[in-house]
């Protein structure tokens, strides 16, 4: 969130390979910023809750109280941590090696995505053979349509067909795939890199650039638009935020951020509460509607910026609560984000199944929500434990390497 932890102090690299390239904006990762883990962990919980359909608990997640939601937090922190981990690797080991590591990471996420798709396939096959209701004659077309495995699986492998709630990982894959040259430029000309990213965003918005999807339309998360948030996160991690700390921490900025958060909360509430709508002038509604998630509307982007400013202002790096056992569960989940994200998608499927098959009562919805988060915490703890016992082996220890868990966890 804040670049204050990553001073651009020009400290020399500890092990420079022959291919290492000197960079204009050197940086040294400081201590692990637990705030990143904390907020990514919370974002993972919120994404899980939002992915359970007809769940009373997700009426209380942040998407109901503003323009942006947990996806922005997840993508920003992913960009931040990717730069944190691979930026140093690129400086120390050169473009080719660090680029290869980034692509390997993209491959791992691709495999995880296909694994989730297999689970989805099992679910849709079950529904296709077990469900019938004349009320849903039109909707059941989807089941017969999607259960054509010959086309559906190929389109899924091409990342063109993406089941509901499985759009984030393909976005992440494309962002990582594009990342090596972006990171190369960020290390040398950070402002230029961010400017190019913003230009691509603008071009995507103006020229309606997006990737094609199957069976029709385009990607739900337009990578050409969402890359801006990812690159912005990386830019912050590489000293951008530190260089502009005065602006970020200015009381006027904080005031503007709080004002914008309140405004967006009011508008978001007015979408669901008819009574509040009369207080929103029609011209305001016409200007702001609809708030595009696909193309990362500026309203969403600024809403995320406002959240980040408030968080940086009120949660310092050395916030004592970060060490408290109360926040530990979220932090541990954030430290293994790829595994926990995938688990969350699976658990959301499972929660929907449980609520539908056994009980749709509010109590059941609350119970599956809580249990899902508990399973995420326990799994994250288990992964940490595995890493810990493996780390005790001398050969398994990695020397002087930023923890790849920050970039979502090496598999």
């Amino acid at each position: 969130m804040s670049g204050a932890t990553l001073p651009a102090d020009g400290a020399p690299p500890t092990a420079v390979s022959p291919k290492a390239v000197p960079v204009a904006s050197a940086f040294v990762p400081g201590q692990r910023d637990l705030r990143l883990d904390l907020f990514r962990g919370i974002a993972l919980w919120l994404i899980y809750l939002d992915h359970i359909p007809s769940n009373i608990v997700n009426r209380f997640t942040i998407r109901n109280y503003g323009f942006s939601d947990a996806t922005e937090i997840f993508i920003f922190i992913s960009g931040y941590t990717a730069a944190y981990v691979y930026g140093r690797a690129m400086r120390d080991q050169g473009f080719v090696i660090s680029g290869a590591r980034i692509l390997r990471r993209a491959w791992q996420i691709y495999v995880a995505h296909i694994f989730l798709f297999a689970i989805y396939l099992a679910e849709i096959s079950y529904v296709a053979s077990n469900f019938a209701n004349p009320l849903y004659a039109e909707e059941m077309n989807i089941v017969s349509f999607l259960s054509n495995p010959d086309t559906m699986i190929v389109q899924a492998l091409l990342l063109k067909f993406k089941p509901v709630n499985m759009d984030v990982l393909p976005l992440y894959i494309v962002l990582l795939f594009m990342f090596p040259p972006i990171l190369w430029l960020l290390l040398r000309r950070p402002t230029l890199a961010l400017g190019l990213s913003a230009a691509l965003y603008a071009a995507a918005r103006i020229l309606s650039l997006n990737l094609p999807a199957y069976p029709g339309g385009v990607w739900f998360f337009n990578p050409f638009a969402w890359q801006l948030l990812f690159v912005f996160g990386a830019w912050c991690a590489l000293g951008g935020a530190a260089r502009h700390a005065r602006i970020v921490k200015s009381p006027w900025t904080l005031l503007a951020a709080c004002g914008y958060l309140l405004f967006s909360m009011f508008i978001a509430l007015s979408w669901r509460h008819e009574g509040l709508r009369e207080f929103v002038p029609q011209i305001v509604q016409v200007i702001i509607e609809p708030v595009s998630k696909t193309n990362l509307s500026l309203l969403r982007l600024f809403h995320f910026f406002a959240i980040a400013v408030v968080v940086v202002s009120f949660v310092p790096l050395d916030w004592p609560a970060l060490k408290s056992p109360l926040l530990r569960p979220a932090i541990v989940c954030g430290q293994h984000s790829l595994e926990i994200f995938c688990l969350g998608v699976f658990l959301a499927f499972a929660a929907h199944f449980v609520v539908g098959e056994f009980s749709g009562a509010v109590t059941a919805q609350v119970l599956v929500s809580i249990n899902g988060i508990l399973i995420m915490i326990l799994t994250a703890g288990l992964i940490s434990w595995y890493k810990e016992i493996e780390g005790r082996r001398p050969k398994a220890q990695k020397k002087d390497m930023p923890d790849a868990d920050l970039a979502g966890g090496e598999v």
Binding site: S54, A132, A213, P215, F220, E278, K293
Partner: protein, 267 residues
């Protein structure tokens, strides 16, 4: 004050013909009616799910001036139920029946012009011809299902919806938007939330009433009135649901257009 009362109070505060709305609102608060009641079905709907801040001025004018109301059901996907008797039991026919009963002396005609498996873009292509043919005062524009199944670009979907609303209003008719059906079994397969969110956004932007079919059916499900999850080939539930949707939609049209109507519980 209950949630429903609160919604009602807000509507009343802004209302000119509060007494008229009161009569209509009482009707919509007690929706179980003849056929549904006989079948032991409770499909009441909270008032705040029915009442809308938007108006239907062309409907109001037509009913007052010409004592006639022509409604066209337009949009993506089927409005009729499959099987024998599907047309008669589907919500357009139910809507016509309920409005005729609740608006005595008014000639109500409801025509369904939907085509199964059509996206909104395909609907828009024929909209002008249908409007010229039907000459409606009100168009019930249902949207979302087919586009969600086909993963139409969400922004394109929104633009198409805006275009259709402009076209309909340009042809001299009011619009009521109808969103997707609630379908708990397929919720993880059809991106319902994204498309219903877009429909709601467009309704707010264009200041047209939204008949929240999704929310109402979810309310019926959560209240235990209907089981939408258990597989069945029996069309009874489908018929009952369409009957109830006809009731609720009629109540919303009456309340939003500020029409003097007989209470739903009186027949």
């Amino acid at each position: 004050m209950t949630k429903a009362d609160f919604g009602w109070a807000l509507a009343c505060r802004r209302s000119i013909g509060c007494a008229t709305v009161l009569a209509a609102a009482i009707g919509c608060a007690v929706l179980p009616t003849d056929a549904a009641a006989q079948k032991g079905v409770n499909c009441s709907v909270p008032q705040d799910m029915i009442l809308s801040e938007s108006r239907l001025p062309r409907v109001t004018k037509s009913v007052h001036d010409t004592k006639a109301l022509a409604i066209a059901i337009l949009g993506a996907g089927a409005a009729s139920l499959p099987g024998p008797g599907g047309k008669e039991t589907s919500y357009p026919a139910q809507l016509e029946g309920v409005l005729s009963k609740r608006l005595p002396g008014i000639a109500v005609k409801v025509g369904a012009y939907t085509v199964p498996r059509q996206t909104l873009k395909e609907v828009a292509r024929n909209a002008k011809r249908v409007l010229a043919e039907a000459k409606p005062n009100l168009v019930v524009l249902q949207a979302g299902t087919v586009d969600a199944i086909r993963h139409t670009d969400l922004d394109d979907f929104g633009e198409e919806l805006e275009y259709l609303i402009d076209t309909i209003q340009g042809a001299g008719a009011d619009v009521v938007l109808v969103n997707l059906q609630y379908n708990p079994r397929l919720e993880t397969m059809i991106p319902t939330t994204a498309y219903s969110g877009m429909i709601q956004s467009i309704a707010v932007e264009k200041d047209v009433p939204l008949f929240d079919r999704l929310g109402i059916m979810r309310y019926w499900s959560e209240s235990g009135f209907f089981d939408f999850y258990t597989p069945t080939k029996d069309p009874t539930i489908a018929h009952q649901v369409h009957h109830c949707i006809g009731q609720a939609l009629a109540a919303q049209i009456i309340a939003t257009a500020r029409l003097r109507a007989r209470s739903a519980s009186n027949f």
